[in-house]
């Protein structure tokens, strides 16, 4: 007898709820131990409406097709010296930041969605988490495969997982995600699926992917495309999950609001690395951080929170600070990297006149007044053979772990210092946003592994900078320091030498 063919909807129903059962010889609370401690109340798991009714067979087929396309591009990249097609070798620093800072988060996302796929009490959400777990593993893998081509020619890519666990600026994304995975399942959904993948996603993926497109990095563009349909599922999951929590019980609203406030600020601080990449690392610029923030947060986010107002949700606390800081943040972040290029697995460089002009145009209220003079002074010092390096180690924020370089709103000459007391110790934070987060859960953030403090505890390979850099696996003189004078610059100039047309091409 041939089996009756099921419709997609039936198949989906059989696959999700059809495979679920009520435990009889174990208590439900023992089977799902993480479900209640955060204080979230769910009365009816069946009310979860799956936004995408994707079955496993359809999923495999769809993903396999995307993989075929991606790996064809990766192959042709390898065969045709794709690395020569980028605008400039400086572009690669965006790729370095991506593989060091973001790819390991894909892997963490894979792991934690697998955890949710086991531990959420609702079958529909479990299946969605399972699919996302597989997506995230695929993202991690395809990113590594794609970028491994650049690793053959460029520095700073060779040991990205090791660096992710140890380097001072990579502790920013690492601790961000550790914070999320060490929270309960509902906070995790709100942090990663909603705040990060829904509210802020266009400020993470779009800049990297369009940056790649503008700068001739077709490989990264292709993995971006390959991840895009997954990401739209992840976004939908984030929004639907938060709506579901808000609809299930009114008591959930203040809890979710607290998480939105926290994770908006955590995400925003993390994005200072991305914003710096946009404004400083792309030889061919896509849009400024300020423009991106206006488009993707102030406008799109504004509409979203207006819509969520009917549940009693308001805009994230300190969104006004992010708005007020948008003309300053990326310049201050670049300053950190310029201060400490000797300890980074990326390069920085002098900001040339064309770049200065672009920054003046994009940041008319802030750049010429506050940052251009600083860059000109640094340039003078470099020209005298005294390139400015900071000889000390920075004070770090206890929460976001970024060097405390951000200034008070309305006072760009004064660093914003905040401090809390807990258990007889002082804890320093960079902003009201980070201070609130610390004060809400001091037991959690008092445990932070702050890279600078770890060096002074003797936990990072030794007391001298070269020893610490060895412990970081930074290949000194290649991975770190300025682009000018780097092996990468020398290689790039050599490559381009034979390729630049000797006689200018006639105007078309």
């Amino acid at each position: 007898m041939t089996p009756r063919k099921m419709s997609l909807k039936q198949k989906y129903g059989a696959y999700t709820r059809g495979l679920d059962w009520k435990p009889t010889y174990q208590r439900e609370d023992d089977v799902f131990p993480f479900a209640k401690y955060e204080g979230i109340k769910i009365h009816d798991w069946d009310a979860w409406e799956d936004p995408f009714k994707l079955t496993m067979d359809a999923y495999w087929k769809f993903q396999a097709e995307k993989e075929r396309k991606l790996y064809a591009v990766i192959d042709s990249m390898a065969q045709n010296n794709g690395q020569l097609g980028i605008t400039d070798a400086r572009y690669l620093n965006a790729v370095k930041l991506f593989i060091q800072g973001v790819t390991p988060l894909e892997y963490q996302a894979h792991r934690h969605f697998a955890h949710l796929a086991r531990h959420l009490p609702g079958a529909g959400l479990r299946v969605a988490a399972q699919m996302q777990s597989i997506d995230e593993l695929r993202h991690c893998q395809t990113q590594i495969h794609t970028i491994s081509h650049y690793n053959k020619y460029f520095d700073g890519i060779h040991d990205f997982t090791h660096m992710h666990d140890r380097l001072w600026y990579l502790s920013v994304p690492k601790s961000f995600f550790d914070d999320a995975t060490s929270a309960g399942p509902f906070e995790f959904l709100t942090s990663i699926s909603f705040a990060f993948e829904y509210v802020l996603t266009n400020l993470l993926f779009v800049p990297f992917m369009s940056g790649a497109a503008y700068n001739g990095d077709m490989a990264t563009v292709t993995f971006g495309f390959s991840a895009q349909s997954d990401e739209s599922r992840h976004m939908t999951l984030g929004l639907e999950a938060v709506r579901f929590l808000l609809e299930q019980d009114e008591a959930n609203v203040p809890i979710v609001q607290g998480w939105i406030d926290k994770w908006f600020w955590r995400g925003y601080r993390l994005l200072s690395l991305v914003g710096m990449m946009m404004d400083y690392m792309l030889p061919k610029k896509v849009m400024s951080w300020g423009e991106a923030w206006e488009t993707y947060y102030e406008q799109a986010g504004g509409a979203l929170f207006a819509d969520l107002a009917r549940y009693g949700i308001r805009e994230p606390k300190y969104a006004d600070v992010a708005k007020a800081e948008k003309g300053h943040m990326t310049h201050q972040a670049w300053g950190i990297f310029y201060n400490y290029t000797h300890a980074a697995a990326m390069h920085t460089w002098d900001i040339d006149e064309a770049h200065m002009a672009w920054l003046r145009e994009k940041y008319p209220d802030t750049f010429a007044q506050h940052y251009e003079p600083r860059y000109r002074k640094w340039r003078e010092q470099a020209e005298e053979g005294k390139r400015f390096y900071n000889n000390g180690l920075p004070q770090l924020c206890q929460v976001c772990q970024i060097p405390m370089a951000f200034t008070e709103v309305g006072d760009p000459n004064t660093i914003s210092f905040r401090v809390s007391e807990h258990g007889g110790d002082r804890f320093h934070t960079c902003s009201d946003g980070c201070k609130d987060i610390f004060d809400h859960e001091p037991e959690k953030y008092a445990q932070a592994w702050l890279p600078v403090h770890q060096i002074f505890q003797g936990a990072c390979g030794g007391a001298t900078l070269p020893e610490v850099l060895d412990w970081y696996h930074i290949n000194q003189g290649a991975d770190n320091m300025d682009y000018a004078g780097s092996p990468e610059e020398e290689q790039w100039n050599r490559w381009m030498e034979g390729r630049r047309p000797v006689v200018p091409v006639a105007a078309e």
Binding site: P33, F34, Y37, E38, G39, G184, Q332, G335, I336, Y338, N339, Y340, R374, K377, W378, Q381, K386, F388, Y389, N390, N391, G392, L393, P394, Q395, L396, P403, M404, A405, T407, N413, T414, I415, F417, V419, H422, G423, D425, R426, F427, H428, D439, H440, E441, E443, K444, A446, Q447, A448, W449, L450, V452, H453, F456, Q457, G458
Partner: protein
């Protein structure tokens, strides 16, 4: 507020307790209005470090890379310790005049020292 946790009363190790710094304590210093130094600087210092050693040796080793440092007269600087105005005594140690683990010392030089 306490951290929501599976096991009530959750705490963890405070990673940066002073005992972990081999006899030193952390002190943060910040030269105000010189943001070419992107942030305050972390120093592991024995609590008995005389204030004069901070101004005479340690701060110059950090800040002399800025040409303006040559003109700085630290005896005329304005100081702040952990958010309060502070008049340090060069002869006494940091610990003797209230500098503790993870204290923040901010100072102003030049015209803003008197502002």
């Amino acid at each position: 507020m306490a951290t929501a946790s599976l096991h009530p009363g959750y705490t963890g190790p405070v990673r940066d307790r002073v005992e972990n710094f081999n006899g030193a304590q952390l002190v943060y210093v910040h030269w105000e209005e010189h943001l070419n130094f992107c942030s305050a600087i972390t120093l592991p210092l024995p609590p008995q470090t005389p204030f004069a050693a901070l101004t005479g040796e340690i701060l110059p080793s950090l800040y002399a890379v800025d040409p303006e440092w040559a003109e700085v007269d630290l005896s005329k600087a304005r100081w702040m310790l952990d958010g309060a105005d502070w008049t340090p005594d060069p002869a006494r140690s940091l610990a003797d005049q209230g500098v503790g683990h993870k204290s923040l010392i901010r100072f102003w030089t030049g015209p803003s020292a008197t502002a």
